[in-house]
């Protein structure tokens, strides 16, 4: 009988200590990685890339009709997929890094909910690092990739599987510490 009473007296304290400990842990994690806290994890890591059946944009502002992006040419190669838009401010910030990335592996650009002429102006202003560019004017492809904003960058390996996703503008330290090692592995 007495032991039961003791359990009931200690129960609130232990529960409280547990909640406090976990909250402290979470806060610690948040403090360590402030940029990571609101980003949801990609569900596609380790899975084969979704098909990208969208129209290819030619650099000279002509939508090449009936020609879709050719993903097969990257078989047995690493490549990247970068969702961007002319109306997206952080995309301008990451443009130089995408340029750097494109020197190492081919980058496929997907213009998200954009117009061809605006995309052309954006690429003229900030450079065109892309091996191919597709137009996802309704955002359907983005949804298939689990994209919820621009920019987002995916790295695909030689087996055609997504091995990495970064949401938000690519940052130099992320590029150096996370992206480069993955590519260098080949």
């Amino acid at each position: 009988m007495k032991s039961k009473i003791i359990i009931f007296n200690i129960l609130p304290l232990t529960l409280f200590a547990l909640i406090l400990a976990v909250s402290a842990l979470v806060l610690y994690e948040v403090k360590k990685n402030p940029s990571n806290q609101n980003l949801i994890n990609s569900q596609l890591i380790g899975k084969k890339i979704p098909t990208i059946k969208i129209e290819k944009i030619d650099f000279f502002q002509q939508k090449v009709k009936d020609q879709t992006l050719n993903i097969d040419k990257y078989k047995n190669n690493f490549f990247a997929v970068n969702f961007f838009a002319s109306w997206c401010a952080p995309c301008r910030v990451e443009a130089p890094l995408i340029e750097e990335l494109s020197k190492l592996i081919p980058v496929v650009g997907i213009a998200y909910k954009d117009k061809v002429k605006n995309t052309k102006v954006f690429l003229e202003d900030y450079g065109n690092p892309y091996d191919q560019i597709g137009l996802d004017d309704f955002g359907k492809i983005a949804i298939d990739w689990g994209v919820y904003g621009v920019p987002e960058t995916f790295i695909v390996n030689t087996d055609g599987k997504i091995i990495y996703r970064h949401a938000g503008p690519l940052l130099y330290n992320v590029f150096k510490s996370e992206v480069l090692p993955l590519i260098r592995k080949k």
């Binding site: 304290l13 409280f16 406090l20 842990l25 948040v30 403090k31 609101n38």
Partner: protein
């Protein structure tokens, strides 16, 4: 210069409160005159200092002293005066200042109960309140100084979020803080009892008014927040189970349970440990409520300053203020000897017991829903979301028995007395509820849940009325006028009846709004007419109008019912140039039966505008119900004061 005085006053109060706490610790079990008078005087000093410091802060906002970070971040010369004032607490640092102002005020008020509370207990209460004050002051002084200066004086401020330039939202924090601080008083009563080792029925009687004030304030505070969300956010919703809403709702649930468990304690000496535990938890949840909005732990529409480094300080405060008492609780609860007298299985005691069980479980459920995503993420990195669907499946079924019992409990008696005419009352209740449910069933739009919810509301409403009428019948007095009835009940639980009636009214409102509302989204141009049933909305015009610190696009609609003009609605879109943000001001026409709610979306003369129309039946009953609840609380405080004065005069 003046803000520095404000800062110095805070520092002085901090030092003084530390000394006061030490003084109390050294005199902890004494009950002599000197000890108590020192402590009482010190509460007055704390209050006055903080009052002046707070006054200086408000003054800085009024004169737009942009040399202070807080004023430049949150205010602007063009802001209307009343929002300059309320802007004082519309931010992290200022709201904490408001908190300690109310805390020191309540502590001062408690200290004036020198002749009603035994000295040993009173000194402990003051001591504990001062510890809390210390903790908050240290948080303010070390992490959230409101009097911080800017190096460069800006020409004007950054303005205030237009969503916050609103009377409802100006009152929302003060009322919530009255609630939290009220719960700190009952907390101090409880911890004080653990320290002094003495509890009796008088302890419960002295504690109850403080819980009632806290509960009433929380009721209005939460209702105000909901009402604000309803008319400001433009989607017709008033409760989202948002973590910050939950953070204020949990203390309310605990306070409700506490209110009832303390009531038992006044009559029968049982559940002492439980009452103490609830008092501790009530304040812990209040602390959680105060800090969760500013810790960076949760994502929410409300997130104040999401600052993780402050978050750690907050956790430490929480640890001390909750962990300490809980340790004390774990070691000292064998102190109190319970009453061994009997009570029926069907009695007021058992009803209140069950009420406590369900209310506490409901509070635990809300806590689980709020913290679970956090815990899961910490445990294995999985991220999930918890929305209204979860609470509808867990919280609602747990609260249903509370409503059922609420109607019956007043019929029951204390102890081993048999309840009076309960079969008659129950039959009457059941018949009316059945008829009501049938009536609901006849309505096209009804669903299973709407019928259940509506029937519960009818059950409770009828229960309160039945209780009133049978009580009138049972007295020997001839109560044949409303005045006589009113006078009779003002001596007999008038507050309780009003409060319970409030819950019933609230529930009726919820049933109407949740289950019978209609909404649609259409594109219309000037001159078009929208016909819904016997109502019509004529789209008259759209014009651009200036406001004090915004530009408005205002549409005018005329509402007709049965071809007769009822009123004009003017939904707006406001653009605030300084804050560079836009708000939608819905046009709401409220009456007894419900609201017509119009929102102006995007559009222009060529393509027309997108308009959202909502018909929300009985929604004003939600606010009315909350109002009645709070009124009931206030009435019962006045009643207890009157009866105590009578007792005093009789002695």
């Amino acid at each position: 210069m003046i803000p520095e005085i404000g800062h110095i006053l805070l520092i002085l109060t901090f030092v003084a409160s530390i000394l006061q706490v030490l003084f109390w610790c050294f005199n902890i079990k004494k009950s002599d005159d000197i000890t108590i008078n020192v402590l009482i005087k010190s509460t007055f000093i704390n209050f006055v200092f903080i009052l002046f410091s707070f006054g200086i802060l408000v003054y800085s906002f009024i004169i737009s002293d942009f040399s202070l970070v807080i004023v430049s971040d949150n205010s602007h010369t063009l802001k209307p005066l009343i929002y300059k004032i309320s802007g004082t607490w519309g931010n992290h640092e200022g709201s904490l200042m408001l908190w300690i102002l109310i805390l020191s005020f309540f502590t001062f008020l408690v200290s004036r109960k020198k002749h009603q509370i035994p000295y040993k207990l009173l000194s402990s209460i003051i001591g504990i309140q001062t510890i809390i004050l210390c903790l908050f002051l240290s948080f303010i002084l070390f992490t959230s100084n409101p009097f911080e200066r800017l190096n460069v004086l800006p020409i004007d401020g950054n303005g205030l979020n237009p969503l916050l330039q609103d009377p409802g939202l100006a009152l929302h924090p003060p009322l919530l803080y009255f609630g939290y601080v009220g719960l700190s008083v009952s907390f101090s009563f409880a911890v004080g009892a653990l320290i002094t080792g003495e509890i009796n029925k008088e302890w419960a009687r002295q504690m109850r008014p403080w819980i009632t004030i806290a509960w009433s304030a929380l009721t209005i505070g939460i209702a105000l927040g909901s009402w604000w969300a309803y008319y400001e956010l433009g989607w017709g919703g008033w409760w989202f189970w948002d973590p910050v809403e939950n953070a204020s709702f949990m203390p309310w649930l605990i306070a409700t349970a506490l209110l009832h468990s303390v009531r038992i304690l006044e009559v029968r000496f049982i559940l002492i440990n439980w009452t103490i535990l609830l008092s501790i938890l009530g304040f812990s949840f209040s602390l959680l409520g105060t800090f969760i909005v500013r810790s960076g732990l949760l994502t929410s529409v409300h997130a104040f300053a999401s600052d993780p480094s402050r978050g750690l300080f907050i956790l430490i405060i929480l640890g001390i203020a909750t962990g300490g008492p809980l340790i004390l609780y774990a070691t000292k609860t064998s102190l109190f000897k319970e009453d061994k007298s009997q009570f029926n299985i069907i009695s007021k005691e058992s009803a209140l017991l069950i009420n406590n069980l369900f209310l506490t479980t409901a509070a635990a459920t809300v806590l689980i829903g709020t913290l679970y995503p956090l815990f899961l993420d910490a445990f294995n990195g999985n991220k999930i979301s918890i929305g209204p669907a979860y609470y509808n499946a867990t919280f609602a079924p747990i609260m249903a028995p509370v409503i059922l019992l609420m109607a019956i409990a007043p019929f029951l008696s204390w102890g081993i007395k048999k309840p009076n005419k309960i079969a008659k009352k129950l039959i009457f209740l059941s018949v009316i509820t059945f008829l009501g449910g049938l009536g609901l069933f006849m309505i096209d739009e009804s669903s299973l849940f709407s019928i259940i919810c509506g029937s519960l509301a009818i059950w409770l409403l009828t229960g309160v009325i039945v209780d009133l009428t049978f009580q009138i019948k049972a007295t020997n007095l001839r109560l044949n006028s409303f005045k006589a009835i009113f006078l009779y009940f003002s001596k007999n639980n008038l507050g309780v009846h009003i409060a319970h009636m409030g819950v019933a009214v609230f529930l009726v409102g919820v049933t109407g709004e949740q289950f019978y509302k209609t909404e649609f989204n259409i594109k219309k141009n000037v001159g078009d007419i929208i016909n819904v049933g016997n109502k019509s909305l004529i789209f008259d015009k759209v014009e651009t109008l200036p406001g004090p610190n915004y530009k408005s696009e205002t549409a005018t609609f005329t509402l007709l019912k049965n071809k007769k003009i009822i009123d004009v609605l003017k939904p707006e879109k406001r653009f605030y140039p300084i804050e560079k943000s836009q708000t939608t001001e819905a046009a709401i026409l409220s009456d007894f039966w419900g609201d017509t709610y119009l929102v102006l979306g995007d559009g222009n003369k060529e393509t027309g505008w997108s308009i959202r129309v909502y018909f929300n039946p009985l929604i004003s009953w939600i606010w009315g119900g909350a109002g009645f609840m709070a009124l009931g609380g206030l009435v019962s405080i006045l009643q207890s004061r009157k009866s105590r004065k009578k007792l005093k005069n009789a002695i």
